[in-house]
């Protein structure tokens, strides 16, 4: 059964159909959330928030739209809200951060050795994480949607409340920052 039919069944009162949707989409939402935050714990929170918010707003979902795309937009907004809350909390409890642009990426604890690290060198991984941390929340959201999820500029604009040209410029800025940060690795 298609996701859209499942959504219709949830609206008709069949809560179990929502379980199927959660089962089908939760891993994709987690990947998006992790790439937005760089932090597993935060990503887990965002996954839960996304499905709760989606459940409550399901009546706004149009049957002719694609459920996965709609859920993606909900997840992006949950992630942005989460990052905003994290920043506020940091400002309230620790004073003002030095770097306005820094996000949750900066609070990533040093990772213990994992198979992933055997595939990607520690230096490269840290460099990429550092580069992602230099993006503003909106730039990171736009970049993740474009680079990892293949969303069009139009979809990104809708999700972030931006016009097409603004969404495009956000991606250009993000790519420019990432290139600058990764330049030494490219040259080496």
């Amino acid at each position: 059964m298609e996701a859209n039919d499942r959504a219709a069944q949830v609206l008709a009162g069949d809560q179990d159909s929502f379980r199927v949707l959660v089962d089908r989409h939760s891993r994709a939402v987690f990947r998006l959330a992790y790439r937005m935050t760089g932090n597993e714990h935060d990503a887990e929170d965002i996954v839960q928030d996304t499905f709760l918010r989606a459940y409550r707003a399901l009546h706004t979902f149009e049957a002719r739209a694609d459920f996965g795309t709609w859920l993606h937009r909900v997840a992006v907004n949950c992630a942005l809200d989460h990052l905003r809350r994290v920043k506020r909390r940091e400002e309230d409890t620790q004073g003002l951060p030095e770097d306005e642009q820094s996000g949750a990426f900066n609070s990533i604890p040093a990772a213990s050795p994992t198979p992933e690290r055997l595939i990607l060198s520690v230096e490269l991984k840290l460099k990429v994480e550092g580069a992602m941390a230099k993006l503003s929340d909106r730039e990171r959201a736009a970049f993740v949607m474009r680079h990892f999820d293949g969303c069009s500029i139009d979809e990104i604009g809708k999700a972030l409340g931006l016009r097409g040209s603004a969404a495009k410029n956000t991606i250009f800025r993000a790519v420019q920052k990432l290139r600058e940060a990764l330049q030494p690795m490219v040259n080496s």
Partner: protein
């Protein structure tokens, strides 16, 4: 020969529709060493990022998420406009924000009357309080706008909750706009003026509006770029919060 710009190369890399003329760009990349090298380094950078690993979640992950959220679905059965906090919470938050502004104005008034012993709160701290209040206001306004923009219309749409929130925001928005005008901050005053029109439109709507009315409202927000402007001035306000002075001893602000 016109070289491809950085932006052209990004659009080309992502196969973005409506971007560069793809056959032309391919032809140019074949014949231009400079652009080909530039494109190669761009692609290399982006491929490094693509290699950033994401922790895997196993097949049971969906069931785990379901187990965590299921009890919360039952706790909050409200189905409409629940992106927002309950209205009472917003009303309380709005009241606190207004009290803070009144406290700020009272401080200014007493200072103007040259009664320095009454001005217990230092001016930078008062400025910070005002910025916090304005920041909260903009945050709430932004959430309202995002919700309206994300709303997908099908038949009639219940906007009663957002209508009440908009009514609540109109009053404080007007105060902040007048304050911005008085302080000579025309940029902020203009944005708040645009925002106020949208808030008034929402607050004057019936509890249920048609899909066409919702689309019109979304068009108004989109066409004037209000959401973006609000985000910009919210960022500016956050900057001012930082420069407005130290926190009050014992204060959470």
């Amino acid at each position: 020969m016109r070289h491809l710009t950085q932006d052209d190369l990004v659009l080309f890399y992502y196969h973005e529709e409506g971007g560069v003329d793809r056959p032309h760009a391919e032809e140019h990349l074949r014949s231009c060493d400079l652009c080909r090298q530039e494109f190669a380094t761009l692609a290399q950078s982006l491929e490094m990022i693509a290699a950033l690993p994401v922790p895997e979640r196993d097949e049971n992950y969906g069931a785990e998420v379901w187990a965590r959220i299921r009890p919360r679905l039952a706790e909050e059965p409200e189905k409409r406009w629940t992106f927002f906090l309950p209205l009472r919470t917003w009303t309380l938050a709005g009241s606190i924000a207004l009290l803070l502004v009144l406290a700020f104005w009272a401080g200014r008034f007493w200072q103007q009357r040259q009664m320095p012993t009454v001005a217990a709160i230092p001016a930078p701290a008062r400025e910070r309080i005002l910025m916090v209040a304005v920041g909260d206001h903009l945050d709430r306004a932004q959430m309202l706008l995002v919700e309206v923009m994300n709303q997908e219309a099908a038949g009639s749409v219940d906007v009663s909750q957002s209508k009440q929130l908009a009514q609540d925001l109109v009053q404080s928005n007007r105060l902040y706009r007048q304050t911005a005008l008085r302080d000579g901050d025309a940029g902020m005053a203009n944005v708040l003026d645009d925002l106020e029109r949208v808030l008034l439109n929402i607050s004057h709507s019936p509890n249920e509006i048609s899909a066409e009315d919702l689309a019109s409202l979304q068009h108004q927000i989109e066409a004037q770029g209000i959401l973006f402007k609000v985000r910009v001035i919210e960022t500016q306000v956050q900057e001012k919060q930082k420069t407005a002075g130290p926190r009050l001893p014992g204060s959470v602000l």
